[in-house]
Structure formats: structure tokens, C-alpha cells
């Protein structure tokens, strides 16, 4: 039975939502505020957005982020899909152990991951660049994709694979003609999740980035040292728009793949 909420409960929920979303709403609002200071409303402006688009280093950071997050997402999806299909198709010694190893990078504190990756690159004499950022991002993005695809595979009826084989598919064709097409929604939603994780990461990236490879999140972080500038509000607002859009797309894809498997 569903009951109606009493006034106390409504108040609690409202308070909760305000605490949760007020900072974001404030930030979005101030990105349109015609004032240098974050105090009081002095009229609507798009000035900060114009300034932001004129700033060369901001532009560069965006491009860097797109390259880094794009590459690490694609790599993570491919590696995650291979790993998940391997886990689905074969039984081997140490499977459970390997399974839990895949999750460790996602739960290790980002700073520790950054430090350990930095020392690894140092030992291997790999100079820091976009490549090292991408490698680092893949370490925590791949498990996300792997997990997403694995869940989709667990719900996949094995007799469909047998039916494919029965109708003439070789083992490889079962994967290419039946498994992969059905995994597209899971791969996309996993990829989008990985992309957002990669886009917003500061801590790990901070350790492994080369001097010229400032990503968007690092740029925002760096700008904060010089004090709160309204352009940062503008940039953060754009970032929120992008991540929320990706989140919504991901949700739709997931719902669709759930509906499909029913």
C-alpha cells in the first residue's frame, strides 16, 4: 500500500533536495550573473561564456579532455567487451580471483591509483603524456565497461547462442552475429559511464599528466587556486550539461536493453 506523505515528510524531502541541488543551481545561476563577485544578482549576461570561449588554455583543456576521455572510453569498451565475453564463454582456473581483481582499481582511492601509476611509469621510464593519462583512465574505466557488459551477458539466454550454432554459426560467428549485436546497448551505456568518470577525474590525472596535457577538470581545479572566477561557473555549467545529457542517454539505453531482454 502506498500512503501519502505527511507535511513533516514533505518538508524533509524538500530540505534534502535543496541541500543536494542548491549548490548546482547557484553555480548555474552565477554563470549568467553580470558581476565579478559571487555576491548578489546584478543582471543577466553571457559575458563569462564569451570570455570562456575566447580563452585559449580553456579551449586546449577541452580538446585534451575529449582526446583523453574519448580514447580511454573506446579502449575500455573494447577491452571490457573482450574480457566479459571471455568470462562468459570459458571457465578457467582463477576466474573468481581475476573477477575481483578487475574491481580493485574502481575502489582504490584515486590518489593512491595516481601515485602508484606514476611510480610505475617512472620505473618503466615512460615519460608522462596524454598516453599515460589514457592508460591510467583505462585502469578504472575498463572495469566499469566490463561489469556493464557482464551483467548484460548474464541475463542473456544461453539457448540463443546454441540456436545460432545449431543454424550453422561457428563459435566466432556466434560472437559476431549474435552476442555483439545484442551487447551494443550495454557497451554504449558502459562507455558513457566510463566517459563521465574519465572526464571528471582530477586526482589520478594530476599525477600522470604531462606538463602540456591539462584536461578540463585539471584546468578548472587550477583556476580555482587563483580565486573563484565566473568563467569557471560557466565552464562547470557546460560540464554539467554534458554529463547530465550522457547520463540520460545511458539511462534510456539501459531501459531499452532491459525491455528487450524481457
Amino acid at each position: 500500500m502506498k500512503r501519502k506523505l505527511g507535511p513533516a515528510s514533505v518538508f524533509y524531502v524538500l530540505l534534502f533536495l535543496i541541500l543536494l541541488y542548491a549548490p548546482i543551481v547557484m553555480m548555474v545561476a552565477y554563470s549568467f550573473n553580470n558581476s565579478e563577485l559571487d555576491m548578489g544578482w546584478s543582471g543577466f549576461t553571457l559575458r563569462w561564456y564569451r570570455e570562456l570561449f575566447a580563452a585559449e588554455d580553456a579551449k586546449k583543456a577541452v580538446i585534451n579532455s575529449i582526446i583523453v576521455s574519448g580514447c580511454s572510453t573506446v579502449l575500455s569498451v573494447i577491452l571490457g567487451a573482450f574480457a566479459a565475453i571471455g568470462f562468459h564463454k570459458f571457465d578457467f582456473k582463477g576466474k573468481d580471483l581475476l573477477d575481483s581483481f578487475f574491481y580493485i582499481p574502481t575502489i582504490v582511492p584515486a590518489m593512491l591509483l595516481g601515485v602508484s601509476l606514476l611510480s610505475l611509469f617512472d620505473i618503466l621510464h615512460i615519460s608522462l603524456s596524454k598516453v599515460t593519462i589514457i592508460i591510467s583512465h583505462v585502469t578504472f574505466c575498463m572495469p566499469i565497461c566490463f561489469n556493464n557488459i557482464r551483467v548484460a551477458l548474464n541475463g542473456f539466454d544461453r539457448s540463443i547462442e546454441e540456436a545460432a550454432q545449431d543454424l550453422g554459426c561457428t563459435q566466432l560467428q556466434v560472437i559476431t552475429k549474435v552476442l555483439l549485436p545484442n551487447l551494443v546497448p550495454a557497451m554504449l551505456s558502459g562507455g558513457l559511464l566510463a566517459f563521465t568518470f574519465s572526464l571528471e577525474d582530477v586526482l589520478t590525472t594530476f599525477f600522470v599528466a604531462g606538463p602540456k596535457d591539462t584536461t578540463l577538470s585539471m584546468y578548472i581545479f587550477g583556476q580555482m587556486k587563483a580565486g573563484m572566477k565566473p568563467t569557471i561557473n560557466a565552464l562547470s555549467t557546460l560540464l554539467i550539461v554534458v554529463t547530465v545529457t550522457l547520463g540520460i542517454i545511458m539511462q534510456i539505453l539501459q531501459n531499452r536493453s532491459i525491455a528487450k531482454s524481457k
Binding site: A164, Q165, L167, G168, K260
Partner: protein, 367 residues
């Protein structure tokens, strides 16, 4: 090589999963164009046998021939048999048309040939208006039709059906049984059908293999199995039956004398040879069991008579089922036409009888 019309031959086929023997040394021949059913309770090895023919499981021992070809090490995708799965197993990402065309496309047939055969099949299963839909948009019965079409379009030598109607409701299932039977006769393809539903097996099969604990208990037509079950399990599993335990007194070339809790019965069944004092069950179908009081042509020469204690009657539409038990506690069921108004009270001692020719004996064993 002698060419007979054996389509499937199993010779001593065994399948073990670890310690468990799922299929125990089965010999079986399925003829070309035959509708063969594997019938048995769950875990009897019927699905495992089917999966070995399909190529999803390797026999642990024994030989398997499909159309005289040894199937050792031939993977499922190279066998000229197709399977219809219980849960349909349609490809969710493909339209109905592409589902049906899947096997033909893999065989790299020309587009015209594929279109021709797919269209013919779609017409046959009467799903013309659904060809561009996805499987998730179809009902269970429609999905099963697509699954059957997807297999048959490849014109396999044998179609394997693994409880294909198990997920459908009773009415639809009965319709589909008839449809399948007609389809099979029309196409002349060998069907091997797995089910645990004895009524379904009786309806659609040319021959039935009754399976239990990895063995084939009896192989024969529906009539043969119903009228002359060879084992207690077969008698029990197909239809309803009364099983009365006793032992052999004597046997000659035409009749057997049985002691049933000190009532001496004569049975005109001497096909199977028994030793003296061997424990047996006398099987009488409920429709062959009568009340002495209501049998006009009753005579002691023609009928075996036993005394039972009346329990109750159950009205089931056109029939009335009377439940009784022997003084030793063995249940006895009698089915009679519902209109006949035989009335007894609970606890009445009632004389019941069955023709000396309309009963058979099976060995008494644990089932």
C-alpha cells in the same frame, strides 16, 4: 553399404556428467519421416539424448549416426539437424524475417533463393503481417511458430523439438500439437520430440520412447504402450492404471495363474515368462474395471473378481471416477460413463471384476 531408411541411429550411447549417468547405454533407431517422442519425467535423460543428437553434448560412450554418418567430432553447426528450443531462443536483435533467414544466410544462398524459401515458410506459419516485427512484440504461440519456421526453412534431415509447447497455455498447446503433427506429415521430415506430457506424446507421435533414469523403458506406438506396457514404470506413466501386486502360481502356454492376496486369478497373458512365485503387478486400466452388480454378462469364467472397499466418486464431466481400495490398501479406480447412476456408500464391500483377457502383468519393481 546397405541403405535402409534409418535416419538416426544410437548405439550404446551413454552420457555422464561427473558421477551422474544421465543417459545409460541407449540403443535406438529412428526411421526417416518418423515422428518419434522421448517421453519421461524430468531428469530421465530425454533432453540430454536430444542435445547429443543436436551436437550440444558429446556422448561419453557409444556411437551416433545421422543418416548413416558417424557424428563423432562433428560440431553442431555442421550437423544437418535443427533444434526448436523450449524458450524459443529467437534472436532479439533481428526481425522475424531475419530470424527465419538466419540459417540460409549463413549457408550463403542467393538472395532470390533465400527470399523464396523464407516467404514460403512465413506463409506456412501464417505470420505474414508480423515479418518486420521484433520477437519481443510477438505472443508465445507466435514466437514458437517463428522458432519452428527458423529451423524448418533450412530443410534439415531431422527436426529436434525440446518441449516446444511447454510454455504455452493448454488450449493453444492442443492446437499447436495438431498443427505440428500435420506439418510433419506434410513435409515428411523426421521429428524427434521431447516432452514430459504423456497426453501430448500419445496425441502426436508415431512412436514413443518412454525414458526413465537414463534408460529407454519401452519403445512402441501409443496403442502398444497404452495397451501392453512392458514395465511398471511404463504402465504408471502412460494413462491411469490399477496396479495390483501378487505373485505367480503357475504359467502355461496360454494363461498365467496369479495369487493376489490369496485370491486366485487367471490371466490370458503368457507373452512374458515368469518364474513361479515371482512378484508381479496385474495392470488393469480403470475403464476395464467393472462393478459385478452392474455388469449384465458377468460370469466367473470370463472375469476375475476381487472384493474392494468403496471410498468415493468423483464427477469429471462425461465420466465418473469411483475410488476404492482393496482390503490390503491398494487403490482401485474405476471410470464409468457419468450417466450410469451406480451408487455405493463409503465403506461398502463391493465386488469388482475385470476380463481375464483385458489385463496384463508387469514385474513388480521399485520405480
Amino acid at each position: 553399404m546397405i541403405r535402409d531408411n534409418n535416419m538416426i541411429e544410437l548405439i550404446g550411447v551413454t552420457k555422464q556428467f561427473g558421477e551422474m549417468t544421465a543417459v545409460n547405454h541407449i540403443d535406438l533407431i529412428v526411421k526417416e519421416g518418423e515422428f518419434m517422442t522421448f517421453l519421461g519425467p524430468s531428469g530421465c535423460g530425454k533432453t540430454t539424448t536430444l542435445r547429443m543428437i543436436a551436437g550440444f553434448e558429446e556422448p561419453s560412450d557409444g556411437k551416433l549416426f545421422i543418416d548413416h554418418e558417424d557424428c563423432d567430432n562433428v560440431p553442431a553447426n555442421l550437423r544437418d539437424v535443427n533444434t526448436v528450443f523450449q524458450n524459443y531462443a529467437l534472436f532479439p536483435h533481428l526481425s522475424i524475417r531475419d530470424n527465419i533467414a538466419f540459417g540460409l544466410k549463413l549457408k550463403k544462398l542467393s538472395k532470390e533463393e533465400i527470399d523464396k524459401r523464407v516467404n514460403k515458410m512465413i506463409e506456412l506459419i501464417k505470420l505474414e503481417e508480423h515479418i518486420n516485427k521484433k520477437p519481443s512484440q510477438l505472443s508465445g504461440g507466435q514466437k514458437q511458430r517463428v522458432a519452428i519456421a527458423r529451423s524448418l526453412v533450412n530443410e534439415p534431415k531431422v527436426l529436434l523439438l525440446d518441449e516446444p509447447l511447454g510454455a504455452l497455455d493448454l488450449k493453444l498447446r492442443k492446437e499447436m500439437q495438431i498443427e505440428l503433427k500435420h506439418l510433419q506429415k506434410e513435409l515428411g521430415i523426421t521429428f524427434i520430440y521431447v516432452t514430459h506430457d504423456q497426453e501430448e506424446a500419445l496425441t502426436i507421435s508415431d512412436r514413443i520412447a518412454i525414458m526413465n533414469k537414463g534408460n529407454i523403458e519401452q519403445l512402441g506406438t501409443a496403442e502398444e504402450i497404452y495397451d501392453t506396457p512392458k514395465t511398471k514404470f511404463a504402465a504408471n506413466f502412460i494413462g491411469e492404471t490399477n496396479l495390483l501386486t501378487g505373485y505367480i502360481v503357475s504359467q502355461d502356454s496360454e494363461k498365467t495363474v496369479v495369487n493376489l492376496h490369496n485370491q486366485i486369478l487367471t490371466i490370458y497373458d503368457a507373452d512374458k515368462k515368469y518364474k513361479e512365485r515371482e512378484r508381479i503387478c496385474v495392470c488393469v486400466r480403470p475403464e476395464n474395471m467393472h462393478f459385478v452388480d452392474y455388469l449384465p454378462d458377468y460370469s466367473e469364467e470370463k472375469y476375475n473378481t476381487i472384493t474392494c472397499i468403496y471410498e468415493e466418486q468423483i464427477y469429471i464431466g462425461n465420466l465418473r471416477r469411483h475410488i476404492l481400495h482393496t482390503p490390503e490398501g491398494e487403490p482401485v479406480k474405476i471410470t464409468r460413463c457419468a450417466r450410469k447412476g451406480e451408487v455405493y456408500n463409503r465403506g461398502d464391500y463391493v465386488k469388482v471384476c475385470f476380463s481375464k483377457k483385458r489385463c496384463i502383468m508387469v514385474k513388480d519393481e521399485e520405480v
